[in-house]
Amino acid sequence: MTRSLASLSSSPSFRRSSSARFYSPNASLALVTPLIAALLAGFLYPVARLIALSFSGGTLSHYRRIFAEPLHLDVLFSTIEVAFVVTVASLLLGFPVAYLMARLSRGLAMAVAACVFIPLWTSVLVRSYAWVVLLQRNGIINKLLIDTGVTEWPLKLIYTEGAVILAMTHVLMPFMILPIYSALRALPPDYVRAARNLGAGPIRAFVAVTLPLSLPGVFAGSIMCFVLALGFYITPALVGGPGSMLMATLIGQQTTVLLDWPFAAALSTVLLAVTLLFVLLFRRMLSLSKGLNSVY
């Protein structure tokens, strides 16, 4: 999973020249050894333990429990749904920002980039609590709505699926903006000029040239957002309620409250499998669009 993500989001220039050409095999190996060690110790080993745990007792009983109880499947499907909505919302809101950043002069682009980056550097916890403050019963938004007479009673904003989607979109949007931005920046301005010169108005030039050529960035951002959203824990745990439980919160509940580790492991394995499935699906879509492969 990690590898496919990295290769998707890597910049075009990296894809073109492989570092193997500059370093001897031994030097290359030496350079990646720390990463491999970290992956083995910090990722592969725990995941292997997790999967082993999910089959503990030598039975599939934990998996049977997941698929026997509609509640668990509901959570799985609503997780996928939320991740999908968050990805689409991030794309719709993030693309214009990325486009603006790519077109602005250097100074202004830096200012916009700062607006994108600073939230990214801020803890997810802080940003999620910020949404709690905004959305709670006596929060700023409810106060404003009551003061302006839009509503008489405070609306139930927080602990809803809407709140989860809103907050997650906010948290994940930088992951959408940055790959799209780098794709747009890598696009030579001559393409749009050529389109305009050949008779396309500004909108048709965008639709026929800029948009399709930015798709690698869009795919990279989408897959990043989607995968992160599938496993998101903190934000749904803080902003979501019992009615909007997601896989991550369900797993958290099993491990911390109910202490049913084998079952939590089974849930995690299912989530991992679903995530991998979607990553493969995305990559397949990417490789099917033949023309896009020749973009860089």
């Binding site: 050529a194 010169n197 026929a208 023309g291 020749s294």
Partner: protein, 396 residues
């Protein structure tokens, strides 16, 4: 190297007019009036005025930063001129958006859309105009591919083609909608020398066949001289000289043009006697250079003592053994000889002014006629020199 030999002769005006009656020629006239582009304090193009006839091939030639690409950008409509006027076929297009100008353009790196096939690339301008049926578009694309000899490549993607093939596709795409004016921004810069020369002929052949008006930007003087009907030489955003390749080569109006086009020798000196009949320049205490004055008919007369620069082409001089060159020859010493295939270029320093070195072109037939440190006479063709006043820039 010389324009006379390499130049592809354009059709003269009369013949072109005749052709226009028979086949449809797509070219229209292009007029630039006092075009100016300012970026804050910096001026990229100043007061550029050009009248280009329908079907004419004109090059904008100049070193980088001379404003030639900016001029092209303004003609294409990607940037608005600060002042001035652009007209195509008599119609003012100064304020028109680029997509309404109907100008074809070949970009320096071709700018073929990488996500579209060759067919889709060439069909792009036709689709954007929305006036043609799908089948008609397909037929036109096939015609264009045939024209540039790339039939059978329609379903490939640009990155599956070689540089030269991409270049031809770019030309086909720019001509598919029969634009009255075709702009080319250093279109051969990315190709190797052999291919570049082949493409020069191909572009010229296409242009004559279609009667397209072409504005061609390049910093390669050979390219400009061989392909163009007329060449506009630019420097520092200014138009320096606009004329046929032969005019530019034989009658450069400034030192810049003399230096920029072809090989040129420059000698510093003071005017001794500059009248209508002759120009006598003193190069040093003992050396005097005599030129027949009709060589600089278009330059002013100079007072005695004026600092001058004399420009002479290497092929307008020859070498003789010391003492055999006649009274007006300049004594020199051979420094080096460079072999160019059909000619040698001898580097000869003047006997009493070792700092001044001249290039002299000598036909290469058999043995090398002079060796290093041989004492020689440099014999000048008296009509060959151009005389320019020393401006402060040159004196420095």
């Amino acid at each position: 190297m010389r324009p006379e030999t390499g130049r592809i002769q354009g059709k003269d005006a009369e013949e072109r007019q005749q052709l226009k009656g028979n086949a449809k020629l797509i070219g229209q006239s292009l007029s630039l009036g006092g075009l100016q582009k300012r970026y804050g304090e910096a001026i990229a193009v100043r007061e550029l005025s050009l009248e280009i006839a329908a079907g004419e091939f004109v090059s904008l030639l100049g070193p980088s930063g001379s404003g030639k690409t900016t001029a092209l950008t303004m003609i294409a409509g990607f940037e608005a001129p600060s002042t001035g006027r652009i007209a195509i076929g008599g119609r003012d297009v100064t304020l028109l958006a680029p997509n309404h100008r109907n100008i074809g353009m070949v970009f320096q790196k071709y700018a073929l859309f990488p996500h579209l096939t060759i067919h889709q690339n060439i069909a792009f301008p036709l689709r954007m105009r929305g006036r043609m049926q799908k089948t008609a578009i397909s037929r036109r694309v096939d015609e264009m591919l045939e024209l540039v000899q790339l039939s059978g490549y329609a379903e490939r993607y640009p990155n599956q083609l070689s540089g030269g093939q991409q270049q031809r596709v770019a030309v086909a795409r720019a001509l598919a909608f029969e634009p009255p004016v075709l702009l080319m921004d250093e279109p051969l810069g990315a190709l190797d020398k052999k291919l570049r020369e082949a493409m020069q002929f191909e572009i010229k052949r296409l242009q004559e066949r279609l009667g397209a008006t072409v504005v061609y930007v390049t910093h390669d003087q050979d390219e400009a001289l061989t392909m163009s009907d007329r060449v506009a030489i630019m420097s520092d955003g200014r138009l320096v000289q606009f004329g046929t390749p032969t005019e530019l080569y034989r009658q450069p109006n400034t030192e810049f043009v003399a230096d920029f086009i072809g090989r040129m020798n420059f000698l510093h000196g003071d005017c001794l006697d500059c009248t209508a009949e002759q120009t006598v320049v003193r190069l040093s205490e003992s050396t005097v250079l005599k030129l027949r004055s009709h060589a600089n008919e278009r330059t002013r007369k100079y007072d005695a003592g004026t600092a001058l620069r004399v420009a002479i082409r290497p092929e307008r001089m020859r070498l003789a053994k010391r003492g055999d060159g006649g009274a007006d020859a300049l004594p020199g010493v051979v420094d080096a000889a460079v072999f160019f295939g059909s000619t040698y270029i001898f580097l000869v320093r003047l006997a009493d002014r070792p700092a001044a070195s001249l290039q002299v072109e000598v036909p290469a037939d058999g043995v090398i006629p002079y060796q290093r440190d041989d004492a020689v006479d440099i014999v000048l063709d008296g009509a060959a020199g151009h005389v320019f006043p020393v401006t402060e820039r040159c004196a420095a």
